[in-house]
Amino acid sequence: MRAGNGALAWLQEHCPSLDGQFLFLDPLWLDTHLLSEGAVLILREAAAAIDDGRLSAFEHEIADMGGWPPGLERLVRSLATLPVCAPVGTRGTA
């Protein structure tokens, strides 16, 4: 079994593909969400930004493109609560 810390590792472990959609377990609230492929792509980018300590920049990028789709920002916030073993930088604003 793979083990790992951080947002991307969580996605790897807790976002299985199901018939073209994805089942995501929220690490903070422990509720589950059915995500489209597009939502997972955004979530993955956000997770990489979280792990790299550049969530704030990614959020600005999303804002420039029209803002978060409904429901997705909360999941990103939850991912941002996960401990990161990579260098700790700015983890985004609450």
Partner: protein
């Protein structure tokens, strides 16, 4: 000038992200992984891609490669077994562990190799099955000492909707209802405590 390729890649990334944003949907299902299992069961949703038929047994030190799947497998011992007992008078010269009750023993040699009519089998839950497809049960057989044995084999594991193991191939196949093979990611979602008990392969 030198930034041109980078600008292009940034622009491509923006385009991909924008498309993804437009195609994003989030449907909240409920609280906790067990709820997910009940409402959108990744076990019950298994509808293909898993090893089928005789491919649910694999002979080798490790399960099949992770590509194309990452299904849960259990290790089983593989040995040589004396063939099934046939209806015959009690053998006068038969010795336990040396093929008691086999039909032919006149040409038998005393070498430690398995008898020539021995067959290779694997053991699951105290039952022995032939390694040769279709993996029929071998009834009334005994393990024989043979060079190169025991070997290692793997059988596909079946789980209920809560991610609890209920059995393995060949006793279980997709022909039944209420159980299915499970991938590592599925087990991690619905029964993470059990996910570490298996080896994963395609």
């Amino acid at each position: 000038m030198t930034n041109a390729p980078q600008d292009k890649s940034i622009e491509q990334r923006r385009r991909v992200l924008k498309g993804a944003l437009g195609a994003s949907t989030v449907v909240t299902l409920g609280y906790g992984a067990p709820v997910a299992a009940a409402s959108l069961n990744c076990i019950a949703k298994v509808d293909g891609g898993y090893p089928a038929g005789s491919n649910q047994f694999f002979l080798g030190d490790q399960p099949p490669d992770l590509t194309p799947g990452n299904w849960a497998w259990r290790q089983v011992p593989v040995n040589m077994y004396a063939p099934p007992v046939v209806a015959a008078p009690p053998a006068t010269g038969g010795q336990p562990g040396k093929g008691k009750g086999r039909k032919k023993d006149s040409d038998e040699q005393s070498a430690p190799e398995a008898a020539s009519d021995a067959v290779e089998g694997f053991e699951v839950s105290n039952l022995v099955y032939s390694t040769t497809p279709p993996h029929d049960p071998l009834v009334g057989v005994e393990v024989q000492t043979a060079a190169g044995y025991p070997k290692v084999g793997w059988v596909l594991v079946y789980f209920d909707e809560n991610g609890e193991e209920i059995g393995t191939y060949p006793a279980y196949t997709m022909d039944g209802d209420g159980f299915a093979p499970a991938s590592e990611s599925c087990l991690n979602s619905i029964n993470p405590g059990a996910a570490g008990n298996y080896t994963y392969g395609g």
